[in-house]
C-alpha cells in the first residue's frame, strides 16, 4: 500500500513548481524592486527634502507635495517657490534637511553641468540640459510600468468579456465577435497606434494606455473563448445551468475562474510588450509629452548625442532590456508552473 502524500492545494503546487525555476524567481525579485521604485520614486529621487527642520519647525515637503497634488492643499508660504536648496543659505543654527538618495528632480535643469559623464555627483550622468539621468530614469520607470499594467488591465478586461460571451453563447454572438477580432488583427498594431496618436489633440500617457488597451485585446479574447468552449460542457457548468442560475453568475462565478490561468500568462508577456511599445512610441516622439521623462524618450533624446554621450543611451536601454526580459522570464516560469503536463 502506498503512503498517500499530504494533500496540497493548487496554489501550493503551482508555487512549488514556480520555485524550481531559479531564473523566474530571480526575475520576480527584480519585478519587486521595480515595484518598489514605482511606488517610492518620489522618495528616491527628488529635489525636495523628505524631512527638514527650518526655523524651529519640522516639515515633510515630499508628503506635502502629495497633499498639494491630490488633496488640494497649499504650500506653506515660505516654500511657495519650492526651491528648497536655495533655502539652505537662510538656515539658522539647528536647521537641517534630509534629502532623498538622489537629490534631483527629473525636470530640474542646470545648464552648467550639462552632458556630464557618470560620476559621483550624478551617478548616471546628465543630459543636454544638465538634468540628472538617474532621476529621470527612476521617474520614467513609473511611466513605463504604469503603461504596462494599465494597458494590460484594460485589454484583459475587454478580452475576457468578449471571449466569454463568444465562447459561452456561441452562434451569432460568436460569429460577430470572431469577425471583430479578425478585423482588429488585420491592422498592423504599431501602425494603428501611430495613426490614432497622430490625430489626438493632446499628448498624454493616459491616451497611450487607452490606445494600447483598446488595440491589444484580441489574443486574450481568443484564449478565453477557447477555454470557455472547453469548459462549458463540464458537469459543474451543466449543474449550474440546471440549478437555474442566471447566465451572468454562471459565466463569472463558475466558468471564468477555471479559464483564467492561460490568460494570466499572456498578460505577463503583454506587460512586457506594452512597455516595449510605449518606449517605441516615446522614442518616435508620439508618446509621453516632452516634460515627462520616460525610458523611450530618454533614448530618443540621446540619439543625437552618440558617440560622446554614451551614458544617455546605455542606461535607459539597459532599463528597458532588463524590465522586458524579467517580465518574459516570469511569464515563462508561470506558464511552466501552471502546465499540468510538466508536473513532477
Amino acid at each position: 500500500m502506498n503512503q498517500m502524500a499530504p494533500a496540497r492545494t493548487y496554489s501550493q503546487i503551482v508555487s512549488s513548481q514556480f520555485k524550481r525555476n531559479r531564473l523566474a524567481v530571480l526575475s520576480l525579485n527584480v519585478i519587486f524592486v521595480l515595484l518598489f521604485i514605482f511606488i517610492f520614486a518620489d522618495f528616491l529621487a527628488n529635489d525636495k527634502p523628505i524631512v527638514m527642520r527650518y526655523k524651529g519647525e519640522t516639515y515633510f515637503p515630499v508628503f506635502r507635495e502629495y497633499g498639494v497634488n491630490m488633496l488640494g492643499w497649499n504650500w506653506q508660504d515660505e516654500f511657495k517657490t519650492q526651491q528648497f536648496k536655495i533655502l539652505e543659505s537662510r538656515y539658522e543654527p539647528g536647521d537641517w534637511a534630509i534629502y532623498p538618495v538622489i537629490p534631483y528632480s527629473p525636470n530640474e535643469y542646470n545648464l552648467e553641468v550639462k552632458l556630464q559623464p557618470p560620476g559621483l555627483v550624478h551617478l548616471f550622468g546628465t543630459d543636454e540640459l544638465g538634468r540628472d539621468v538617474l532621476s529621470q530614469m527612476i521617474h520614467g520607470a513609473r511611466v513605463s510600468l504604469l503603461v504596462g499594467f494599465v494597458a494590460v488591465a484594460i485589454y484583459v478586461a475587454i478580452g475576457i468579456l468578449l471571449g466569454a460571451l463568444a465562447g459561452f453563447y456561441g452562434g451569432v454572438i460568436d460569429i460577430i465577435i470572431q469577425r471583430l477580432i479578425e478585423i482588429m488583427i488585420t491592422f498592423p498594431r504599431m501602425f494603428l497606434i501611430i495613426t490614432i496618436v497622430a490625430v489626438m489633440e493632446t499628448q498624454s500617457i493616459i491616451n497611450i494606455m487607452i490606445i494600447l488597451g483598446l488595440t491589444g485585446w484580441t489574443g486574450v479574447a481568443r484564449f478565453t473563448r477557447a477555454e470557455f468552449l472547453k469548459v462549458k460542457n463540464e458537469d459543474y457548468v451543466v449543474a449550474a445551468k440546471a440549478l437555474g442560475y442566471k447566465d451572468f453568475r454562471t459565466i463569472f462565478r463558475h466558468v471564468l475562474p477555471n479559464t483564467l490561468t492561460p490568460v494570466l500568462v499572456t498578460a505577463t508577456f503583454g506587460v512586457a510588450a506594452a512597455i516595449l511599445i510605449e518606449s517605441g512610441l516615446s522614442f518616435l516622439g508620439f508618446g509621453a509629452p516632452p516634460e515627462q521623462a520616460t525610458w523611450g524618450s530618454l533614448l530618443s533624446s540621446a540619439r543625437d548625442m552618440l558617440p560622446s554621450g554614451w551614458w544617455l543611451t546605455t542606461f535607459p536601454g539597459l532599463a528597458i532590456f532588463i524590465t522586458v526580459t524579467v517580465y518574459n522570464l516570469v511569464g515563462e516560469g508561470l506558464r511552466d508552473a501552471l502546465d499540468p503536463r510538466l508536473k513532477q
Binding site: K80, E128, M305, P307, S308, F321
Partner: protein, 615 residues
C-alpha cells in the same frame, strides 16, 4: 514569442555596448576651444563682405559633382505656386530674375536678364533693357514677351500664388517696347519696388502658355475683377498653369524644366534627390558672372540635392562619404560630434550668419499677455544668455528687433532687456497677477496664470527652451503647459491664432519691410501679424516708411519703430542664427554671403583628380 524577444533584446544590448565602446575610442580626448576643432566662424559684420573659407592655392576649374543635403523636400517645383523654401532654392539655379544683388555693394542692381534699367522721375515706372544673348534651355531666345508673360501669370487671380502675388498688388500696367525692352508701372512709390519687380523669376511663355491664352489681356485687365470673372480663358490658363507638368517633373521620363539659368534641371526622384547639370550654353559661361564672387555661372558639372530629414542621418551620410556638403547641422553635432582628427582632416567646418532670427511670440490678445508689463517680465524671466551659451553653443547673436543685425535698418542704440527675474516678478505683480487663492499659481480676475507653449515636434531647441521655461516659471507661480504639434498643424493654429505662445524663426533679408508682420491690418484673416500687435504709432510709421524713398529718413522711421517694439515686447526677440555646416575639403570656392541661404554654388568647384567623375 519569448525566444524572439530574448534574441531581439540580446542583440539590442550588444548593439548598445558595441556602438558605445567602439565609437568612443575614436573621439579625441581634448576639445580645443578654438582653431581646428571648431571650424571657421564667418561673421559678415557691417561691411557685409564675401567670405572665402577655402584656400586659394589653385586656379578654379570646371567639372565634378557636389552632393548637398537639405532637410525638406518641396511639394512641387512651380516657382510661383510653391511655398517651400526648398523649391525656391532649387529653382533659383534654373530660373533667373531681371536683376539681383550686387555682391560687393549689396544693392539690388546687378544685371542678369536685364542689361540696363531705368526708373522714371516719379519713381513709378521701371524700364528694363534685356540682354540679347539670353536663351532658354531648349534653345529659344528669351525676350520681353517672356517677361510680360511672367507678370501676367503671376497676377492672374486664379493662379495659386496668393502669398507671392500680394506683394505685387500695386502693379498697374506693363508694356513691351520691341523684343528686348520692357517697362512696368506701379500705382505708388515703394522702397522695395525695384527688388520686387526686378527680382521676379522669369518663366518661358512658349512652355507655360503655348496656346497664348493670356495674350489678349493686359495687366490692367487682370487687376480688374469684372474682366477676370467674365473671361473663361483667364481661368483656363490658371488651371493649366497650376497643374502644369513642369511644376512636378517626377521620375525618369518627366518633362525637363525649361529655364534660363546657369544650371539645367536633370532629375527629381521623390524621397531621394533632385539634381542639376551645368548649362554649357549659358550667356555668362565665358563672361564674368558675379563681380568679386564668381567668374562663371557654374564650375560644377552636376549638383545633387539629397533630402534627408533627420539630423543624425545627415551627419552619418556626410561622414560616410554620401554627402559632400552639409549646410546645416545641430550645434551639438558641430561642437561635440565632429571633433575627431579624421573628420577635421577631411572636412572643413564653417559657421555662417544667415538673416533669420528666432523669437518667442506672445499672443497679445490672451489675458496673460495683453499687458506690456507682463510681456517685458516674460522677456526678463528667460535666461537667453544661458540658452545661447549652453543649448546652442553660443551660435546665437542676440537681437532686439526684427531687422537684420548687420543691415542698415537695425537700431544698435537699443539695449537688450536683461535677465532679471526679481524685476520681472515686480512687473508681473504691478500688472495685477498675484496668488489670491493661495494655490501657488498667480491669478487675476479669476484667471489662473497658466498658458500653453506650442512647439513644433521636430525642433529640439524649442523643446529645450520650453522645458527651461516650464521649470523657471513654475518657481514664480506661473504654469507652462508644453504642447508638441506636427508642423502642418502648428502652422494652421498659427494662422487661425489658436495659441498662447509660440517659438519660431523668421527668415528675412538684407532690407525688409516689416508691414506684413507688424501692421494691425494684418491681424486676423490669416495675416502674418498673428500675435495681434496693435499700436497706432507703429502703424503710421510703417505706412510712412513704405513710400519714403530716402534711405536715411526711412531708417529713422524704422529706428523709432524698433523702440516701440522694444518697449511693447510683443515678441521676445531671441537670436540671429549662425548655421553650422561642413564640406569636403576637396571643394574650393566655398564663399559665404549675407543673403540666404548663405552660399551659392556658382563659385564652388572641385579640386583633385575627380574631374567629371560620376556620382
Amino acid at each position: 514569442m519569448k525566444k524572439s524577444f530574448l534574441i531581439q533584446f540580446s542583440i539590442l544590448l550588444l548593439l548598445i555596448i558595441f556602438t558605445n565602446s567602439g565609437i568612443r575610442s575614436l573621439v579625441t580626448p581634448e576639445k580645443s576651444e578654438a582653431g581646428d576643432g571648431n571650424g571657421i566662424r564667418v561673421d559678415l559684420t557691417e561691411d557685409v563682405s564675401i567670405f572665402d573659407s577655402s584656400p586659394m592655392d589653385l586656379e578654379p576649374r570646371q567639372g565634378g559633382t557636389l552632393v548637398v543635403a537639405v532637410s525638406a523636400e518641396p511639394e512641387n517645383l512651380n516657382y510661383y505656386t510653391s511655398t517651400s523654401a526648398a523649391a525656391t532654392r532649387f529653382l533659383d539655379y534654373i530660373y533667373e530674375p531681371l536683376l539681383d544683388y550686387n555682391y560687393e555693394t549689396w544693392t539690388f542692381e546687378r544685371p542678369i536678364i536685364a542689361e540696363e534699367f531705368n526708373i522714371s522721375e516719379d519713381g513709378k515706372t521701371f524700364t528694363f533693357k534685356l540682354r540679347e544673348n539670353c536663351y532658354w534651355h531648349d534653345g529659344q531666345p528669351l525676350t520681353a514677351i517672356d517677361i510680360l508673360f511672367s507678370f501676367k501669370a503671376l497676377l492672374n487671380p486664379f493662379v495659386d500664388d496668393a502669398p507671392l502675388r500680394s506683394s505685387y498688388s500695386k502693379v498697374i500696367e506693363a508694356h513691351i517696347e520691341g523684343p528686348y525692352f520692357f517697362s512696368i508701372t506701379t500705382s505708388d512709390t515703394y522702397f522695395r519696388n525695384l527688388e520686387l519687380l526686378g527680382g521676379l523669376a522669369i518663366m518661358p511663355k512658349h512652355i507655360w502658355d503655348p496656346k497664348g491664352l493670356m495674350d489678349r489681356f493686359s495687366i490692367a485687365d487682370l487687376q480688374n475683377p469684372s474682366v477676370t470673372r467674365e473671361e473663361a480663358s483667364v481661368r483656363e490658363f490658371a488651371e493649366a498653369f497650376n497643374t502644369h507638368a513642369q511644376g512636378r517633373p517626377v521620375g525618369d521620363d518627366a518633362e525637363q524644366i525649361i529655364g534660363s539659368g546657369p544650371y539645367k534641371f536633370e532629375k527629381w526622384v521623390t524621397g531621394d534627390y533632385m539634381s542639376l547639370i551645368r548649362n554649357d550654353n549659358y550667356w555668362a559661361d565665358n563672361h564674368p558672372y558675379i563681380e568679386g564672387f564668381s567668374d562663371k555661372g557654374a564650375y560644377l558639372d552636376r549638383i545633387v540635392i539629397k533630402s534627408i530629414t533627420d539630423p543624425t542621418a545627415m551627419l552619418t551620410a556626410l561622414k560616410s562619404g554620401e554627402l559632400d556638403f552639409l549646410p546645416r547641422m545641430r550645434a551639438v553635432q558641430y561642437f561635440e560630434q565632429t571633433n575627431t582628427a579624421d573628420f577635421v582632416e577631411k572636412f572643413q567646418k564653417v559657421s555662417y550668419v544667415v538673416p533669420a532670427y528666432s523669437y518667442i511670440g506672445w499672443n497679445n490678445d490672451k489675458p496673460y499677455f495683453s499687458d506690456k508689463r507682463v510681456r517685458q517680465a516674460m522677456t526678463m524671466l528667460i535666461n537667453l544668455e544661458a540658452f545661447n551659451k549652453y543649448v546652442i553653443y553660443g551660435m546665437g547673436i542676440p537681437t532686439i528687433g526684427p531687422f537684420y543685425i548687420y543691415g542698415d535698418q537695425y537700431n544698435h542704440n537699443i539695449e537688450p532687456w536683461p535677465y532679471d527675474p526679481i524685476r520681472a516678478v515686480e512687473l508681473i505683480e504691478e500688472a495685477g497677477w498675484v496668488d489670491t487663492d493661495g494655490d501657488g499659481l498667480r491669478d487675476k480676475d479669476g484667471i489662473p496664470f497658466s498658458f500653453t507653449f506650442s512647439i513644433s515636434a521636430g525642433s529640439k531647441n524649442s523643446k529645450y527652451l520650453s522645458l527651461m521655461m516650464k521649470e523657471d516659471l513654475r518657481k514664480v507661480g506661473i504654469e507652462v503647459n508644453i504642447r508638441q504639434l506636427e508642423w502642418s498643424v502648428y502652422v494652421e493654429n498659427l494662422r487661425d491664432r489658436q495659441f498662447d505662445v509660440v517659438s519660431l524663426l523668421w527668415i528675412g533679408g538684407l532690407e525688409t519691410d516689416p508691414y506684413q508682420i507688424w501692421h494691425s491690418d494684418n491681424i486676423g484673416d490669416r495675416g502674418s501679424n498673428y500675435i495681434g500687435f496693435r499700436n497706432a504709432e507703429a502703424d503710421s510709421l510703417l505706412i510712412a516708411a513704405q513710400s519714403e524713398m530716402d534711405k536715411t529718413k526711412r531708417n529713422a522711421l524704422y529706428y523709432r519703430f524698433q523702440e516701440i517694439l522694444h518697449e511693447e515686447q510683443p515678441y521676445t526677440f531671441m537670436h540671429y542664427q549662425r548655421d553650422p555646416g561642413a564640406y569636403l575639403k576637396e571643394f574650393r570656392g566655398a564663399k559665404w554671403i549675407p543673403i540666404r541661404p548663405g552660399y551659392k554654388f556658382y563659385s564652388w568647384w572641385r579640386a583633385g583628380a575627380v574631374q567629371g567623375a560620376p556620382l
